[in-house]
Symmetry: C2
Subunit: 208 residues, 2 copies
Amino acid sequence: MTPLRILLVDDHPVVRAGMRALLTSRDGLDVVGEAASGEQALDLVAAERPDVVLMDLRLGAGMDGAKATAAIVARPDPPRVVVLTTYDTDTDILRAVEAGASGYLLKDSDPEVLVSAVWAASRGETVLNPDVAQRLYRRIRSPRVDLSARETEIVSLVARGLSNRAIAKELFVTEATVKSHLVHVFSKLGVDSRTAAVAAARERGLID
Amino acid sequence: MTPLRILLVDDHPVVRAGMRALLTSRDGLDVVGEAASGEQALDLVAAERPDVVLMDLRLGAGMDGAKATAAIVARPDPPRVVVLTTYDTDTDILRAVEAGASGYLLKDSDPEVLVSAVWAASRGETVLNPDVAQRLYRRIRSPRVDLSARETEIVSLVARGLSNRAIAKELFVTEATVKSHLVHVFSKLGVDSRTAAVAAARERGLID
DNA sequence: TCCCCGGTCAATCGAAAGTTGGATTCCGGC
DNA sequence: GCCGGAATCCAACTTTCGATTGACCGGGGA
């Protein structure tokens, strides 16, 4: 049987070396490339046609892991993409899953788990870390809120500590308008103050 | 010449494998142990007596990297500790340096940089990532602010979105007291609103 | 010892923030 | 076409926040 062809995507050389070391010591697994950025990952997917891509979500500057994942699975006859990351915030997970990832693992997973996840992904199965699965479940139950572009913009400025007046000046509207947007934000997030809105928006990954 | 004895400390198996792979391929370097926690690191330092410890700052549950570093350098004839981490917030850096770290590198550093940093540390030199050095410099110039325990507690609650009244209830004090603390926080951070205080405290790593 | 600092509280006042209600525009569906 | 909904905008009103001043207590360090 031909070995499974694997592409590693991570902006940290140390992590790439670690994945390579953990995977190449296994029979039937072949690391055919390493990419340090999303752009490079796309090139290597086209050139090497791997079976499985191990993808970090945070890739420093440029395209992030979720975007790169989406671009990869949009290709004809795409490889499976398994996300392997340190972060487990709701939004990160949701974005990765929406982008079409076949798995979501945390970097503190056991090497065994990692290897079996790669195999499972190659068979078309979906592999989720238990914590991650639980978060996803919670998220699906609670209705998805999304703020309009304007609202997000304003909450971001609030989070930076600007007053309504300062925000109004920044966006060339009146203070009343800023307040009005904030009222809508408050109701969408189920809070009743700017600080709580920032906390809620941050928790749901709507800002930052 | 006897090889340099190195101990790896990181809670992520992948990262440990990566460091091991990058270091063991070099002449004169010998990885003598791996620890997944601060407690384990202390044991292994005592048992293996390494020359250099590569230490992650975030170690999951239990003792964090800064504490572990401090405990290690407090030993008789201690090894050099080089911090190797993903995070580069001001507080992390400062805590590591204060704990007695001989170096501070980011995980996106080149393997070459990593290797030469290990050698430099073994010779007693201090190795700082340029970004890190710059942050340290900025930090030293701007007078160090630190909030009292009570003040930090209150800012954290503000960051969670609580009103003064709610904070007062939470801490069993009156609203006047909360306001009084916030006045001090505002003046220490150079801001004039609760949201700006949260932003400033977050930026300086005083909360979260 | 005395003084300073951290934590506690009170009263007041002006300035933000938050509430209510309403206007306009744009867009997709019946 | 017409309607409903959502996004953006605005103004007047009420509440909370923040500034200011002043006070009390307890625990260290000079």
